[in-house]
Amino acid sequence: MRIPIGLGVAAVVLLLAGAARADTIPGDVELGAGLYDRCLACHSPARNRTGPKHCGVMDRTAGTLAGYRYSESMRESGIVWTAETLDAFLEAPRKFMPGTKMTYAGVPDPTDRVDLIAYLATLREDAEACR
């Protein structure tokens, strides 16, 4: 029951954002936006803070945003952020990427991560939150 509703919301939001990826990114964007509260001490969509901004993070190579000082581990990881790599990273950042300065235990619930990643995927450069 939750999943079809989630897909519906994701489809609408992504459509509004001018994206056509609702088929590839499952998860509930609205729940994901709520879960993003956990990230707000360090991140925001459009500004670099303690952590780098998240606009355009999907398909970006980790540690490559100009104007943010990454750890060496992040800079040299060569990882590209996809639903899969984000899922592995967010489950346990320091296990997935030893030495990262994202010193956060992680998001243990797999469903939470799917929702969170659906939200991150809406943060394309042309999205409302990113302008």
Partner: protein
């Protein structure tokens, strides 16, 4: 409300300065909170497996970076001209707590042989949406809620369990800020049984 906060501060100060006297670090220019923090950690340093690591320093520095930002955010709020007397004194009290957290974290990083990160020269807050006292309080509440999550995410990572205790102690303080700000906004102060 403000009075009870002041009373609490006074009581905390008394406890911390007594601790400072006990650990004998009171005279070397570290804040009372940092003294309490370091005193505890030194006592525990002998316990097997409790040694702080380079990674612990990284965790402390990430937390320090967020604390620096919170101090700047409260400064912005206090100077916004949007806060009434009550809200302004709340903002300055909470800013004072964040300064103590930052001092304590920086002192601990140095004590452990690391380099404490400095505050940025300027912070780029999204201030467009701040038009009323409630907007500023909501902005602050969001930061405090985030801080609770951030410390919750840091607690299990420390190799040194005493540092985890310190992070938990700061977490408790941020959670109180969050609750008081929610209350000032007319929202249920404590909306959940567990923070996440």
């Amino acid at each position: 409300m403000t009075r009870s906060i002041d009373d609490t501060n006074a009581a905390t100060g008394r406890i911390l300065s007594r601790r400072g006297a006990l650990t004998g670090l009171g005279g070397i220019g570290i804040s009372a909170a940092a003294v309490a923090l370091l005193g505890g950690r030194e006592n525990l340093a002998l316990a097997a497996g409790a040694e702080p690591t380079q990674e612990d320093i990284t965790i402390l520095n990430t937390a320090l970076s967020a604390e620096h930002e919170a101090i700047a955010a409260y400064q912005l709020g206090a100077e916004s001209g949007l806060l009434g007397q009550g809200a302004k004194s709340l903002a300055l009290t909470f800013q004072g707590h964040h300064k103590e957290h930052a001092d304590a974290l920086a002192a601990t990083v140095k004590k452990l042989g690391g380099t404490a990160g400095e505050a940025q020269a300027r912070y780029d807050f999204a201030t467009d949406g701040l038009k009323s006292e409630a907007d500023v309080l909501r902005f602050a509440a969001g930061l405090e809620k985030g801080a609770v999550s951030a410390y919750l995410g840091a607690v299990p990572l420390f190799a040194d369990r005493e540092l985890a205790r310190v992070a938990a102690s700061i977490l408790g303080d941020e959670a109180m800020h969050w609750a008081v700000l929610r209350s000032a906004l007319g929202e249920a102060p404590v909306p959940v049984a567990f923070v996440s």
